[in-house]
């Protein structure tokens, strides 16, 4: 349903060019949950923003994308206007910052319904109440008149989710949807996301640095590093048998109860050099070739793919 090919996002300043995302290709089917994992600065969120046409104007976007059988042009903003909120919904990380502090939550959820479905404010309010009860924002009839600060973090994220799915989008993008929430609330939000995908056979792009979240929900996983996809496979393959050294180290970095804390993966600092493997500088197995040549993407059995010289 969604296919992205050779997506590149470049930020250029007077004399420096920074590639936030390089040659990223992937696709998602209806009813599928695609997880994107990677550390900070790996290009996950930039990819998500590009898919909604919301990148800042100074970003240069190349590549092609087709959505629901239509070719989308990254330059043409008017094409996105009608899609956002109706066909594509997005949930961001920090619900407290994403809600307008001066509008009641009911009004904010009703907004896409009025804008896209042409409902009258009265009809939109009825629909909002229905959405609120479906997502467990109770008592819905009173809640719609509350302002964001009167709600807890979990409730705020439910409101954001309600606004995102109000028009029944075919594609839902969740950019770190649970990072700002504690674990119990996190599980509830994840269940709601899963239910939505299941009930409406929508596609979900789940972006997270939390491998636990990805493991619970995703079908397929993309591992991103330095703006490239270093590994792709089913959630089982990635979690149980990671191939790329980056994925291995990422999994090994998870704090464990039964082992002392270790930091096998150094945080990404500075920009990676052009021409070589994006992970070469931090890779424990790197060879000369890793610094000279970009590793080609190798297609493996069962739809797996990875980009590494030493494999």
């Amino acid at each position: 349903m969604l296919a992205v090919k050779d997506l590149e996002i470049t930020f250029s300043e007077k004399n420096s060019i920074f590639k936030a995302v390089r040659k990223v290709s992937f696709s998602v089917q209806a009813g599928e949950i695609l997880g994107i994992v990677g550390e900070s600065g790996s290009g996950k969120s930039m990819t998500a923003l590009a898919l909604t046409g919301l990148l800042p104007p100074e970003a240069k976007v190349c590549g092609s994308m087709s959505f629901a059988g239509k070719t989308m042009h990254f330059e043409d903003n008017s094409q996105w206007q009608g899609l956002r909120g109706s066909k594509i919904g997005i949930v961001f990380q920090d619900p407290a910052a994403c809600l307008n502090p001066l509008k009641t939550v009911g009004k904010q959820v009703a907004e896409p319904l009025i804008l896209h479905k042409g409902l009258t404010p009265k009809e939109a309010e009825v629909e909002t109440i229905r959405l609120f009860s479906a997502l467990g924002i109770e008592p819905a009839v009173q809640r719609i008149h509350h302002y964001p600060h009167q709600l807890s973090g979990g409730q705020q994220q439910r409101v954001m989710l309600a606004a995102a799915i109000a028009c029944k989008p075919m594609l839902l993008i969740a950019d770190e949807p649970t990072t700002a929430l504690d674990v119990t609330v996190q599980a509830q939000i994840l269940r709601l996301l899963h239910e939505y995908v299941h009930n409406h056979s929508a596609a979900l792009l789940l972006i997270s640095h939390d491998l636990g979240v990805i493991a619970q929900l995703a079908d397929e996983v993309l591992v991103m590093c330095g703006g490239t996809i270093v590994e792709k496979g089913s959630v089982y393959q990635i979690m149980q048998k990671p191939l790329h050294p980056y994925t291995k180290l990422l999994l090994a970095s998870l704090p464990r109860l039964d082992a002392p804390l270790k930091l096998p993966l150094v945080a990404n600092e500075g920009l990676t050099a052009e021409g070589g493997c994006v992970f070469a500088a931090r890779c424990p197995h790197y060879r000369a070739i890793c610094l000279e040549k970009e590793p080609p993407t190798k297609l493996l059995a069962e739809g797996r793919q990875t980009a590494c010289h030493i494999l």
């Binding site: 009608g82 109706s86 919904g89 961001f92 920090d94 904010q108 907004e111 804008l115």
Partner: protein, 276 residues
């Protein structure tokens, strides 16, 4: 750290004064015992007495009545030109802050150009070129008073537009127009409200100044400014002639400043740049 309801008293005193002054202006025909244009050659330069609480002027006109009718002019000029400069300032500041880039540069340089002229000089020049009339004074003061508002709104919008809720509003399908009007405007309103309140006394002062120079609203229509002009030859003999119009200018400016400062403190804002 300011007290919790800091500014509350200031605001209440200010707003009460404004209400009283507005009521006096609106009810002028009921409250004034005399026709403000009626001359009385027998009773010129009468000191305040029962018949004429503020005395009479050099043509025997009742100063109390003229001050009340003058309040209509002053407050009309103050509020209408404030509305005009807020409207222009909002429009330009919003466009500059929201769209940025070349448009921002153009608008803000134009704002700077308007801002470098001392506003009194600009107003005097424009009023001197055209036929003096009430609407002209309003237009000219309103048309030169907006740069402060434009800068303020631009600053607010620059700060707000990167906020995530603006992005999420776009994500839900709101277009530029809707974002500006529905999401940005209410959030930028606080500081502008203060600036608007403080721009009223500035406009009142400018009008009084222009009329005092004889370039504003022309006699016999009473305004506080041209009453002062008429009074200046009689300062030694008839203190009341200049005192009462002056008192009302002072009260008006005082009231709006108190209200503005009170608002500022209540909204928890730091100092707001004023026009001119």
């Amino acid at each position: 750290m300011e007290a919790k309801n800091a500014g509350n008293t200031e605001f209440l005193i200010g707003i009460s004064l404004i209400i009283i002054l507005s009521a006096l202006a609106l009810l002028a025909p009921l409250l004034a015992a005399h026709d403000p244009y009626e001359t009385d050659a027998q009773n010129w330069l009468q000191p305040p007495c029962k018949e004429h609480p503020f005395g009479t002027d050099r043509l025997g006109r009742d100063i109390f009545s003229r001050v009340l009718y003058g309040a209509r002019v002053s407050l009309a000029v103050g509020t209408l030109s404030m509305l005009m400069s807020v409207a222009i300032g909002f429009l330009l500041g919003m466009a500059a802050g929201y769209f940025g880039g070349v448009l921002d540069g153009l608008i803000m340089r134009f704002t700077d150009i308007v801002l470098v002229f001392p506003s009194m000089l600009l107003v005097l020049t424009l009023v001197a070129i055209f036929e003096p009339a009430l609407w002209l004074v309003i237009f000219v003061i309103g048309g030169t008073g907006w740069p402060g508002v434009a800068r303020l709104v631009r600053g607010e919008v620059l700060q707000l537009r990167t906020k995530e809720f603006i992005q999420s509003a776009r994500m839900l399908g709101a277009n530029h127009f809707r974002i500006m009007l529905y999401h940005l405007l209410p959030n930028a309103l606080g500081p502008v409200l203060v600036a608007a309140t403080l721009s009223v006394p500035a406009a009142v002062m400018t009008e009084a100044g222009v009329s005092y120079f004889g370039l504003g609203i022309q006699p016999p229509i009473p305004t506080w400014g041209n009453m002062l002009r008429g009074a200046q030859l009689y300062l030694r003999h008839a203190w009341w002639y200049a005192f009462f119009p002056g008192l009302f200018i002072f009260l008006t400016v005082f009231a709006f400043h108190l209200t503005g400062e009170g608002l500022r403190k209540q909204l928890g804002l730091t100092r707001v740049r004023r026009r001119g």
